[in-house]
């Protein structure tokens, strides 16, 4: 090959390499940016007075005096709304039958929209569901609701060949000639004063339990559940994996039995996680009966089985990469094999073993399938440490799926879902980061 072609090849390979790295970085950015921005929306947002009322009532948090002052202010600007509604209700009773029917239905819509926006209408009985006891707590949601107060959604079926089109009609026009017509401009103009949006940093999103199935409140039970499950899995899998790795590297004689064990281990590493989930249900819960039904214990055991092959592999590699000379030196000083493993080989292999462990920890934290049948429930409160043997727990991975697909108000609480995603990504990232730091520190210590 002549010099020219070689240089050209070199260059094109460099370009290819740089190109693929750039694409990877871009993909990462494209994935991470929405996760971070949307996820942060659960923590930092424009909260309304309804949010502050909710915090005070449900979590006993916030400045009471200030809240009372603001509530008084808000109530005074809401008063005309309710007054106008009462006046119109009066007016309805005086109308003749056909007109009344025409307005009654429309008015019911307006009334319900106002209730969704501002909370229960004075004089009504307190709704049973917590979610109906407050108006809109987040400003961007309030703005959407305001639109529903002001406009009626209609569908245009005029063109039979095209899908129906959605369009809005001003409600004010529908009430032309009644006393209610003044309500719409008033609400539009005074929405700020009625809801008093303020920039809010809601740390409670991380430390609070959820209220009324994630409509309000935070995700602490999920975070705690994820940590319990991952750490629990580690407690089983890490010691077991390291012992197995020691066996494979130091004790196993090469032979049929060992090679069967080895290939079993490799196969296990490739089994889809849902299979582990079903296995966990069948084995730990139905057969061994480690718990009555789903529990953190059963979930941890299932996750442990799933991450075991990874831990074994990583530990094996770490042990094999310890220079043979350390072992020789130790044995030549009259050390027993076991002593050599404990005092020389394992310390030297520790960085690699720990890295494998923490990566597995991250994987255990993030997996959904193994815990669906064995540990996860969609809504629940944080469980105590003593309950891990018998109680199931909410967990981030499973609840992200649940909120996205099964929650009845999924579209209302996207921010919670994104908040969970961000928390999960952060937990996994932090775990990996700590692995890197730990590894570097131990290696540094070993190098001197």
């Amino acid at each position: 090959m002549n010099l020219g072609t070689r240089k050209l090849l070199d260059r094109s390979f460099t370009a290819l390499g740089i190109g693929s790295i750039v694409i990877m970085a871009m993909t990462l950015l494209i994935v991470l940016v929405p996760i971070v921005t949307n996820g942060l929306g659960a923590l930092v947002f424009k909260g309304t007075i309804e949010h502050r009322k909710m915090l005070a009532a449900e979590f006993n948090r916030g400045d009471r005096a200030e809240l009372e002052r603001q509530t008084a202010l808000a109530d005074s600007s809401r008063k005309p709304v309710y007054a106008m509604m009462a006046a119109f209700e009066q007016e309805l009773t005086g109308m003749d039958e056909p007109r009344r029917q025409q307005y009654q239905q429309q008015y019911a819509q307006v009334r319900s929209a106002i209730q969704t926006l501002l909370g229960p209408i004075p004089g009504d009985p307190l709704p049973a569901l917590t979610r109906s006891q407050y108006g809109q707590t987040r400003w961007e949601k309030a703005e959407e609701r305001l639109h529903e107060v002001l406009y009626e959604k209609k569908w245009d079926y005029s063109n039979p060949d095209a899908p129906a089109k959605e369009y809005s009609v001003s409600r004010a026009a529908g009430f032309e000639g009644t006393s209610l017509v003044k309500l719409f401009p008033y609400v539009e103009k005074n929405i700020d004063r009625m809801l008093m949006p303020e920039w809010t940093l809601y740390w409670g999103f991380i430390t609070d339990s959820s209220v009324d199935a994630h409509i309000f409140g935070g995700i602490w039970p999920e975070i705690q559940g994820t940590l319990f499950l991952a750490i629990g899995a580690m407690l089983f899998a890490f010691p077991l994996g390291v012992v197995a790795a020691i066996y494979f590297t130091e004790y196993a004689r090469e032979g049929f039995f060992t090679s069967v064990l080895r290939s079993a281990n490799s196969t296990l590493a490739g089994v889809p996680s849902i299979v582990f989930g079903l296995f966990g249900l069948a084995f730990f819960i139905n057969t061994l009966k480690v718990s009555e039904s789903k529990s953190v214990l059963a979930g941890s055991l299932t996750l442990a089985i799933m991450i075991l092959p990874t831990i074994i592999r990583a530990a094996e590699e770490a042990i094999l990469s310890v220079p043979k000379t350390y072992k020789e030196a130790s044995l030549s000083l009259g050390s027993t094999k076991w002593n050599t493993i404990v005092t020389v080989i394992l310390p030297a292999a520790l960085p690699g073993i720990i890295t494998g462990g923490v990566i597995s920890l991250g994987r255990a934290a993030g997996e959904t399938a193994p815990i669906i049948f064995t540990a996860a429930v969609s809504v629940g409160s944080a469980i105590g440490l003593a309950d891990v043997f018998s109680s199931p727990t909410p967990a981030l991975s499973w609840n992200i799926y649940n909120l996205a697909s099964e929650h009845e108000a999924a579209s209302e609480i996207r921010h919670v879902q994104y908040g969970m995603v961000l928390s999960l990504v952060t937990i996994v990232l932090l775990l990996n980061l700590s692995a890197i730091v730990l590894r570097a520190r131990i290696s540094q210590k070993l190098k001197g």
Binding site: E254, P323, T325, Y326, K327, E328, A329, S330, L331, S332, L333, G334, S335, T336, N339, T343, V344, P347, A348, K445, L446, K447, G448
Partner: protein
């Protein structure tokens, strides 16, 4: 005592006579406390699988003297040396026939505790191999292993061993530093000190200076002279000057066969075997 050992003692006695009367050069003092057969090989072969790497060796290694093992690369020097403290056990398909006795006990006997054996027969390897621990912990590793816990005793052992290895002055003020920060020569002397700390009877050195510069090599050679008379020393070397400088006896191996085993002064001046002569005069390799 079994007949083989008795036979070895008999032969060793003549060897000692040879040393005393003829072949120990004037600058090498006779060692009055030594000269007993410490390691005795009888028809001793070592195999890697089917391959016989060391062939039917008969030899007596005399206590407290320095024995050098020379020979071309691949002739089985390391294999023989490592068989003495059973480091070859680490190699899965390595086996032996014949007998190898240490202090009259069979090294490869059924009931031999190889851990105890290695405590008595220390080894220093070709490449310095300190543990990635502090200098102190390196030296204290062996004693701790064998049950010494008291800090004061450990301090004493560490100092004594480092002094014996002529390293104390260089490292006494940084015992808590990682041993991997030392120079190659210092690391090797540290390895010697580490071995001495378990108070072995025999010191096996496998090309201990091949990874070192001339200055560090000289230090190790001086060290061997210091230790001569206190320990039975066996040193594998490919450097014939080194063999003649440091040893009292020399074993010449060729393709697994122990061709000649004689007092160094004799082997280098009046070799009995043509092959030995050719090798030491540089016609081989």
């Amino acid at each position: 005592m079994n007949p083989e050992a008795t036979e070895a003692v008999r032969r060793a006695d003549t060897m000692e006579t040879a040393v005393r009367d003829i072949f120990l050069p004037p600058e090498r003092e006779k060692i009055t406390s030594g000269g007993k057969p410490h390691v005795v090989a009888k028809n001793f072969s070592i195999y890697y699988g089917e391959f016989e790497a060391v062939k039917k060796v008969n030899a007596d290694i005399l206590s407290k003297y320095v024995t050098a093992i020379i020979g071309p690369s691949g002739c089985g020097k390391s294999t023989f040396l490592r068989s003495i403290n059973r480091m070859n056990d680490l190699i899965p398909n390595c086996s032996t026939t014949g007998s190898l006795m240490f202090d009259g006990a069979d090294v490869y006997g059924k009931f031999t505790d190889e851990v105890l054996l290695r405590k008595k027969i220390g080894m220093v390897f070709q490449k310095p191999n300190p543990f990635p621990k502090s200098i102190f912990d390196n030296i204290a590793y062996g004693p701790r292993l064998h049950g010494v816990k008291d800090r004061k005793t450990l301090d004493e052992i560490v100092e004594k061993s480092l002094r014996k290895a002529a390293l104390w002055d260089e490292v006494s003020n940084r015992l808590d530093k990682n041993a991997l920060g030392l120079s190659g020569g210092q690391q090797q002397r540290l390895c010697v000190a580490r071995t001495l700390a378990v108070e072995p009877e025999i010191l096996l050195l496998d090309e201990p200076t091949s990874a070192l510069d001339p200055k560090a090599t000289a230090k190790i050679e001086d060290l061997i002279q210091e230790l001569r008379g206190s320990y039975t020393i066996m040193i594998v070397t490919h450097n014939m000057q080194q063999a003649s400088r440091v040893s009292d006896f020399t074993m010449f191996f060729y393709e697994g066969v122990l061709v000649e085993h004689a007092p160094t002064a004799q082997l280098f001046t009046r070799p009995k075997d043509r092959m030995t002569e050719d090798y030491i005069t540089g016609r081989f390799s």
